[in-house]
């Protein structure tokens, strides 16, 4: 009958209609980021705790100097495999404004696990003034907010190079082929042994870039593991249920055909 043909056509229409949206909307203007092999990609993907902890160290020691992490609280760090005691100790290294005292004055206090990461700058203007006019974006959603996702973040972090000879570099800008337009206000942030990993992993630029990208992927979607786990269970349930419904349908309809 017509049904199979219509089905194929509808599927094609949906695929064609939805397919080109993302690439067209990508609008990166930069080079295509090379695809990386991430532990968290795929249906069964999970975050690598060691990688996340190293990535957190890179964020805290390097990125946090300019980039905020507004939507992450210290309590969320238990996801990275830290114990609650360790999280308390990490939080205590940061200072946040306390509630006003009896004279209405605001003093800093050590952060607790309930606090969010304090931003490095008071406001956007201060951030721009300290960064050659550029505003360092908040990093809590950076992997979801860029078309290339984790591959793109990784590519930018390792993608600095000398500009092509025909490029006129603006004052204070660095060349990065993966960044739209090629000129980025962020100077190369990662250096060989720029951090000393607690677990002894050699801190190459590539290693740091991978680790901090994984950490930022987690920061963008801390519930990803639960989502995929629940997804697998849901799919199994639905396939069984739909199979039973199909059998029921066949049986009920057997006297019609």
């Amino acid at each position: 009958m017509r049904a199979p043909a219509l089905l194929v056509a509808a599927a094609t229409a949906v695929a064609l209609a939805t397919g080109p949206v993302s690439p067209a909307g990508a609008a990166t203007g930069g080079a295509e980021p090379p695809a990386q092999d991430w532990s968290f990609s795929g249906v069964f993907g999970t975050y690598d705790r060691g990688e996340l902890q190293r990535g957190f160290q890179v964020y805290a020691e390097v990125c946090a100097a300019c980039h905020s992490l507004d939507y992450i609280a210290f309590r969320n760090l238990t996801d990275l495999g830290f114990s609650e005691t360790e999280v308390k100790a990490i939080a205590a290294e940061y200072e946040v404004p306390a509630a006003p005292d009896e004279n209405g004055e605001v003093f800093p206090r050590p952060a607790t696990p309930a606090d969010r990461f304090p931003a490095p700058f008071q406001n956007a203007n201060e951030a721009r003034a300290s960064n050659n006019g550029a505003l360092p974006p908040d990093l809590s959603l950076i992997v979801e907010a860029r078309a290339g996702g984790a591959d793109y973040i990784h590519a930018v972090l390792v993608g600095y190079s000398d500009p092509p000879s025909d490029t006129d570099m603006a004052d204070g800008m660095s060349y990065n082929g993966y960044f739209p337009g090629g000129q980025v206000a962020m100077p190369p942030p990662l250096f060989e042994d720029g951090v000393t990993y607690a677990d002894g992993t050699p801190a190459t630029v590539e290693q740091q870039a991978r680790d901090v990208t994984a950490f930022l992927a987690w920061a963008s979607e801390p519930n990803m593991e639960e989502r995929k786990r629940m997804g697998v269970m849901t799919m199994i349930f639905l396939v069984v249920m739909t199979g039973l419904l199909y059998v029921s349908k066949r049986r009920i309809w057997s006297n019609v055909h």
Binding site: M1, R2, A3, L6, L7, A9, A10, T12, A13, V14, L16, A17, T18, P20, V21, S22, A24, G25, A26, A27, G29, V43, D70, Y71, N76, P137, S140, L141, E144, A145, R146, A147, G149, P180, S220, E221, P222, N223, R227, K228, M230, G231, V232, T234, M235, L238, V239, M241, T242, L245, Y246, S248, K249, I252, W253, V256
Partner: protein, 418 residues
């Protein structure tokens, strides 16, 4: 009419005073339905179920969302991170919008293929187009609520379209914005309307179903029921078939919700709205792309807006454009070919809507737009006159033609019952 015999005394007591049980029995149980419906007829009830999913998840999201330009984005992130299963509810709702359109577009093209808009179902069809318009308005305003970059700039572009209306355009835009730019009052009223419109959709869906139950479903042969042997009761036959269809739908839906939840969205909408930074490409959600392509295909702003609305408006008068008495494309050889051309045209326009309006894309969008209107305004009326339909079967129960060759004339069999 002999009502069903209820044994439960409570049911009988209520039924005597408020005959809801006989109503449900009549409309959901014994409701005679053509026995030859194929799986394309699943998408109507499926759309109703997706509407319920959207209402339930939307009401829960509204409990946690803050409609204020300073807090909207953060409140959505709170839902994603701190509300129990908030990520699941939001992913169901945001992807549910896309799947709602997939289901409804299939439902519409099924109607186009099998001539379900023809007498006596013209009002049924028109109510469906009203639902489509309400869905589009609801989806557009819902996309604004997270207050990301695409929310803000999409709202700016679409609301600005109304400034093309001669004379009162600027007044309309100011009314939509609640001010002189897309700002907090805009977000507030969009939130209010986004909560209101779905309930209007429910109301029109009720009318849609009342109109449907007047004459019952069309069917793949497009001929009227010739008696009891052609129909089966809705329950259990189509309840179980619809449940199986729902299961298949949920498998596809869950695959996206759990494993590709952001694939149909746009990365820029995870950047908080910034009125000072325009995204490189402002692209609407995929389900608006064909209309966006038509809008941009016309060089004049006002004419572009008119063409965009006319692309839906033409569906309102479709029952009077296609005058052929034969409903189903199965018996209309030329119409059937052009149905597929129209579908391909709509897929092409969807593709072009996502592309930058330059070079070959503009040319193709103009050809695609011209064909779309050519199909409805010229081709269908002409086909009604010049096309020779294939002979129709006598009835659903006897789909094979009489070997003696005494075929029923198409005009005779497809006229509405006297």
């Amino acid at each position: 009419m002999s009502g069903p015999n209820f044994s439960n005394p409570v049911v009988r007591w209520i039924e005597h005073r408020l005959p809801v049980f006989s109503f449900m029995h009549h409309e959901l149980h014994e409701y005679p339905t053509p026995k030859n419906l194929n799986y394309w007829w699943n998408f109507g009830s499926l759309a109703g179920m997706v509407l319920v999913i959207m209402l339930v998840t939307g009401i829960v999201l509204a409990m946690h969302y803050t409609p204020h330009v300073d807090y909207a984005f953060a409140s959505v992130e709170r839902i994603m991170r701190d509300v129990n299963y908030g990520w699941l509810i939001r992913y169901i709702h945001s992807n549910g919008a896309s799947f709602f359109f997939i289901v409804v577009y299939i439902h519409i093209f099924r109607g186009l293929y099998y001539g379900s808009y023809k007498a006596p179902r013209e009002l049924l069809w028109i109510l469906g187009v009203v639902i489509l318009l309400l869905m589009m308005a609801t989806a557009f305003m819902g996309y604004v609520l997270p207050w990301g970059q695409m929310s803000f700039w999409g709202a700016t572009v679409i609301t600005n379209l109304f400034s093309a209306v001669p004379g009162i355009g600027d007044w309309i835009v100011t009314l939509l914005w609640g001010g002189f730019a897309v700002d907090n009052p805009t977000l507030n009223r969009f939130y209010s309307l986004h909560y209101l419109l779905p309930f209007l959709i429910v109301g029109v869906v009720v009318l849609h179903v009342i109109a449907l139950h007047r004459f019952g479903s069309n069917n793949p042969l497009g001929i009227d029921l010739r008696g009891q042997q052609d129909s089966i009761p809705f329950h259990p036959y189509y309840t179980v078939k619809d449940m199986f269809g729902l299961g298949v739908f949920l498998i596809f839906f869950s695959a996206v919700v759990f494993f590709l939840p952001n694939a149909m969205g746009h990365a820029d909408n995870y950047i908080p709205a910034d009125p000072l930074v325009t995204p490189a490409h402002i692209v609407p959600e995929w389900y608006f792309l064909p209309f966006y392509a038509i809008l941009r295909a016309i060089p004049d702003k006002l004419l572009g807006v008119i063409a965009m609305f006319a692309s839906i408006g033409v569906l309102f008068i479709l029952p009077w454009l296609d005058r052929s008495p034969v409903r189903s494309a199965s018996f209309r050889p030329i119409f059937r070919i052009f149905f597929w051309v129209l579908l391909a045209d709509c897929v092409l326009l969807t593709y072009l809507g996502a592309k930058a309006p330059e070079g070959i894309y503009v040319v193709l969008a103009r050809i695609g737009t011209a064909y779309y209107f050519f199909h409805f305004l010229l081709l269908l009326p002409a086909l009604s006159i010049f096309e020779t339909p294939r002979p129709l079967p006598r009835s659903i129960s006897r789909p094979v033609l009489d070997p003696a060759g005494s075929v029923a004339a198409p005009a005779a069999t497809s006229k509405e019952a006297p």
